[in-house]
Subunit: 188 residues, 2 copies
């Protein structure tokens, strides 16, 4: 079981800067999101950080940049060797994948027919995912997978309108309905 941190959801998302060891010690699950800038300009610091976190969320281009591997599953496995217990790679309209030492998860994007503005979709995915984890009492791979489906659906509301308008209109019932629809659309 690669994810040792359990208990009530006490978790933090963190950028590469401003992270201190006491903060890490006080948290039960630490997930970082990184970006091309830090990979290109602060690789050494970033690699130190990767050893201190539980999970990393990044997009496909960033995963390739970080690992210099084209195949995203190979890239995800390389990132696991760098320290995190799980890595979630976002692929925009093509969905996402998640890797732990033992598991591999692939998830299509929510099948959205109307995309008004994709700005913030990746951040909404990560935010929705972390929000789900914060309200659940497990950080097991099974919970992280459900959290990713939650994030996928949250992102689908973000892209449905400009700025926060799509998100602000979405109720928890709307999110749950889309999760059910996503699950149904994947069923074979």
């Amino acid at each position: 079981m690669p994810l040792a941190f359990r208990g009530r959801g006490n978790l933090r998302g963190c950028g590469i800067t401003g992270l201190t060891a006491p903060l890490l010690a006080a948290s039960q699950l630490v997930v970082a999101d990184t970006m091309n800038l830090w990979i290109q300009t602060e690789r050494q610091e970033l690699c130190k950080l990767l050893k201190m976190i539980d999970g990393l969320v990044l997009n496909d281009g960033e995963a390739r940049l970080l690992t210099e591997r084209e195949n995203l599953i190979v890239a995800a496995r390389e990132i696991i060797k760098m320290g995190p217990k799980f890595v979630a790679i976002k692929k925009g309209e093509h969905g996402s994948l998640m890797c732990t030492e033992d598991e591999l998860f692939v998830l299509p994007a929510y099948p959205a027919e109307q995309v008004i503005d994709p700005t913030g979709a990746g951040d909404s995915f990560a935010g929705g995912m972390m929000g789900y984890l914060a309200t659940h009492h497990s950080f097991s791979p099974a919970t992280i997978k459900k959290a990713m489906a939650f994030g996928t659906v949250v992102a689908s509301f973000t892209i449905s309108d400009f700025s926060l308008a799509g998100l602000q209109k979405a109720t928890r019932a709307d999110i749950d309905a889309r999760i059910a629809k996503l699950r149904e659309a994947m069923n074979f």
Copy 2:
């Protein structure tokens, strides 16, 4: 139920040329694969054909070319209006989707860690899908979804080596094992 053709699998894949009405009448399921050349040079003939077939298989670029719609789900729905009872859109490493008048299916690609040569992946997908349909007694959406998972896995063997080498080594047990692995990797 949009797919009216049932019974023992008597089906044909067809190109745009050489197709006659008697051939169509004798078949229980007719699925066509088209390509950019026919879309660009023989659109009128192709549109006539689309009214005579049950299913269309094409890739993402072709679906966009045919419908002039960027969003693939919107494109799929447009193609359904053109005649076929179902359309399967192949997205290479990003998986596939399938649409009928009532249903939408999204499927990730098989998570392949070693891709030697992607040549023929799309044709292997279509071939595997048609092979599965030919051995089953239903052309229902549920069967087509399973057939797409079968095609996805067949394609994963094609890309694992050059030419037919990857396919030739694969046994039915290997295919079934990968279908189970794909299902597990999608489970949340």
